[in-house]
């Protein structure tokens, strides 16, 4: 059994309980024992780094110090924002020991910072440390027939020198993960565009405009639903969707699900465990596509002349 230090973040304990819950189910099946950091605090995303320098490092640092006490090799983080804050703080502190000492003085009661723990996002942990083969071997109900658009958002892969994971422009790890479950991942150009993130409350029009474009491109890709790995992306795309539809006059009807919900579904957990009622855009209709046969794209019949002309050029 593998042991893993787990940082849920504030959202996983409130608005995105379905993420937290299905994540625990999935890890049980994958034989990973998750240890939640005792008495963790908010990482400060995104307000702390907007307003102050020292507090922006101190808040994640307390979590890092508490995480190191658990003595597991890796800490995995559910939320992309928390992940970004934690990882970039760690980079800053590790590259600058003097700064680390200074910031450590604000949380010295919790212990000394050693910089020993490896910080990963939950998606990265599943992809790199568990591996697609293991995930594939646990699938009891293939999701074949389901077309999905994998949305990564900005922070899971960017900036590259902080995350060191997948491509910052066109990542494929979640797509591969979905394919391992049997689903079909569609080509989706807006997979790393920003959803408006923290402007959800303070600058709603920006979120509606940015998320609206993402929904539009996802719809065009032919996907039945959007898969995400971040609570903020989920709430912007799901909770704001009816408003976006009303303001743009377009109809999307695109449920937004966490990758762990689909993993739990493929691992055979009953639907009641997946907490579908929490979604604003209902998911049931999209999931009815599971089991459908997706026709192979028809090969265009080419004239004899065209084939001959091509071979002549060669």
């Amino acid at each position: 059994m593998n042991k893993l230090t787990y940082f849920p973040g504030c959202s996983a304990h409130s608005t995105s309980e379905e993420y937290d819950h299905t994540l625990k189910l999935v890890m049980r099946t994958l034989d990973v024992q998750m240890e939640e950091i005792p008495d963790w605090n908010c990482c400060g995303a995104t307000s702390a780094h907007v307003m102050t320098e020292n507090l922006a490092l101190a808040l994640p640092m307390r979590n890092l110090v508490l995480a190191e006490r658990l003595e597991n090799k890796t800490m995995a983080i559910a939320c992309a924002s928390c992940y970004s804050r934690m990882k970039s703080t760690k980079k800053h502190l590790d590259e600058n020991p003097e700064l680390a000492r200074k910031i450590n003085s604000t949380v010295i009661d919790e212990g000394e910072y050693k910089g020993t723990i490896d910080v990963k996002s939950m998606l990265q942990y599943c992809y790199e440390e568990i591996g697609l083969e293991t995930i594939k071997s646990k699938v009891v109900k293939s999701l074949s027939g389901l077309k999905v658009a994998c949305y990564y958002g900005c922070l899971l892969t960017r900036p590259k020198d902080v995350t060191h994971f997948d491509s910052p422009e066109y990542p494929m790890s979640m797509d591969r993960l979905m394919e391992a479950l049997g689903a079909k991942a569609m080509d989706f150009d807006y997979k790393t565009e920003c959803c408006g993130a923290s402007f959800s409350i303070s600058n709603t029009e920006v979120v509606e405009s940015l998320s609206g474009k993402i929904l539009e491109v996802a719809k065009e890709s032919g996907a039945h639903l959007i898969v995400v790995a971040c609570p903020l992306c989920q709430s912007n795309l799901d909770m704001r969707q009816p408003d976006i539809e009303r303001h743009t006059g377009k109809k999307f009807d695109l449920p937004v699900m966490y990758f762990t919900q689909l993993m739990a579904l493929a691992f055979g957990y009953p639907e009641v465990e997946l907490k579908f009622p929490k979604h604003i855009v209902p998911v049931e209709a999209a999931l009815k596509h599971i089991g459908e046969v997706i026709p192979e794209p028809e090969k265009v019949k080419r004239t004899k002349k065209a084939v001959e002309a091509e071979s002549e050029v060669e």
Binding site: T52, L55, A58, C194, M239
Partner: protein, 190 residues
């Protein structure tokens, strides 16, 4: 207005470079950041122009722009910058410098954004964790816009999307002490 004479030292450029760890002088004004940035359309001055302002030492103009408050730190620009400049870090540096030097924009959007961040940090100070429902409510009260997003609340509450209860850290004292000491470090800088 160009404030930079030949013999004048561009202290603004120096301060931004020092804080951000970037070298703004390397920017050759190609504008790739502007076309990449998802919110450049909302900014008074898109990132390229902000970079040029720094080079010219136009401190006050940069401080009073809404640009750095709209930056989402999504790092799309820096990933594509041909000079590999960490533009979000530059935006952050201007923002921090403007706060340190007590510049306050009267732009309503900027005020709203700042208010939101204040409420957020205040909530974390009090509880150690963040709680969306309460944050929304407080934001509406403090911006005198009580009914904003109210149409979302019944559905979200009914669906259990937003819980009624609120979690906090057990060692609240540790959080408050951290705030106090971080604030002290912030003041020592000045």
């Amino acid at each position: 207005m160009i404030t930079l004479g030949l013999l004048e030292k561009n202290t603004f450029l120096e301060a931004v470079n020092k804080k951000s760890g970037a070298n703004v002088l390397e920017c050759y004004q190609c504008g790739k950041c502007v076309s990449t940035c998802p919110v450049s359309g909302y900014m008074d001055f898109p990132p390229r122009e902000i970079m040029q302002m720094i080079k010219l030492g136009l401190k006050e103009e940069a401080y009073m722009a809404n640009s750095m408050w709209f930056c989402l730190t999504c790092s799309a620009c820096s990933g594509r910058c041909p000079r590999e400049i960490d533009i979000p870090a530059v935006m952050e540096a201007i923002r921090h410098l403007a706060i340190e030097e007590n510049y306050r924009s009267e732009n309503k959007k900027v005020k709203d954004i700042r208010k939101f961040h204040d409420i957020f940090l205040d909530m974390v100070k009090r509880y150690g964790r963040n709680y969306e429902l309460r944050m929304m409510a407080e934001f509406n009260i403090r911006t005198r816009n009580l009914f904003k997003d109210m149409h979302l609340a019944p559905k979200a509450l009914l669906k259990g999307k937003i819980p009624i209860g609120h979690e906090s850290t057990k060692r609240g004292q540790a959080i408050r002490k951290m705030y106090k000491l971080a604030d002290k470090l912030e003041k020592e800088k000045k």
